[in-house]
Symmetry: C2
Subunit: 218 residues, 2 copies
Amino acid sequence: MTAPPPPARKAPYHHGDLKNALIEAALAALESQGWHALSLRDVARQANVSHAAPYRHFPSKEALLAALAERGFAELADDMQRGIDGAPGDPLGQLRATGRAYVALALRRPALFRLMFSGALSSYQPHGSLPLVAGKSFLLLVATVAAGQSTGVVRPGSAEQMAIAAWATVHGVATLLLEQQIHLGDSAVADPMVVADAVIERLQQGLAAPGAAAPSNV
Amino acid sequence: MTAPPPPARKAPYHHGDLKNALIEAALAALESQGWHALSLRDVARQANVSHAAPYRHFPSKEALLAALAERGFAELADDMQRGIDGAPGDPLGQLRATGRAYVALALRRPALFRLMFSGALSSYQPHGSLPLVAGKSFLLLVATVAAGQSTGVVRPGSAEQMAIAAWATVHGVATLLLEQQIHLGDSAVADPMVVADAVIERLQQGLAAPGAAAPSNV
DNA sequence: ACCTGAACACCGTTCAAGT
DNA sequence: ACCTGAACACCGTTCAAGT
């Protein structure tokens, strides 16, 4: 009765893969609390290490947040690439698909999206490969616009400038929807994605070459 | 020599207008640190009161942030209204002016703009008149679109839906510029406002009625 | 090489007490 | 009615010490 319980399986002193464990714990905490409320001490608790342990793997809390943001940007580029792959030979369809992927990510992981785009990181520069990964999705966009121009379905002009306009539009709907700034009460549409589609459709018309036929689907 | 200095003008025990003094101090701290780094204790220090004094005027730190955001939304609506007043009888010009005012505010007060639109406040609802003031600028936009439709320079359709598309586009450039996501290195343009104008111009073309003449200025 | 525990200088919020 | 000072339960970060 009074005998002490067996030591059971004690956690090893060395975690083994603490860095990834911290990132996983932080990703979970992120979506439930937002980046500004995320506590490094709490993440350490969740990973069953002391509050000082994370400092062996990240020089600061911001560095951990940057690692999360980088995961988000990689996921964004992957989703967009999947959209491009899904509509081979149809640049306008590819543009629509990348736009939908962008909005979908914002709605699926709102806290992660805010971390990526809402000034949580003062600069991407000091965080290793973050600037490179963050720039990847824009490069995809420019390439798709250029492809559309070469086949004549996208109006001529600076591909970069048109990509910026497309990005701005899609980023705008994504953030306004995610922050619930757009009130869908009056309209018959209750689904945010329907609003996004409408805006993307209008953008589509602006990017399409004057003579080109309107896309048939959606 | 050893005589104590005269009491001079001691600060009165009652501040008099502490509420506004706190808001002013907070607005200053906001732009220099961002909303997430803003400390209530520091704001109190800046206003020369104890760290507990703010709680007589704001139930929480978030309530103070909400007061700042409300100021921002009021300023935004004012700026947009000024843009509308500056182009009487020219709805397309008014739309362009409101868009420029929107981007200008984002670039002039980046931290305030982030506070307003980047999920710092979990909801506008519990903060008095904030939802009403926050909605004002969108109503201006809808009214201007409707005015353009009635004179035939803006294409027909749901004014609300077109206002959403316009808002999304302008909001997108504003936030991307403010977060320095758009790299102006390659282009000849170093001025963010030039990028904004280009995007707004493209939006303009999307909103204009097919038959209407292109705007001559800018 | 990696992790712990104590320590430091902060926070937001509460509450009895002062004016 | 409004403000103060101590107190509580947290933070991020540092550093000597442990394994």
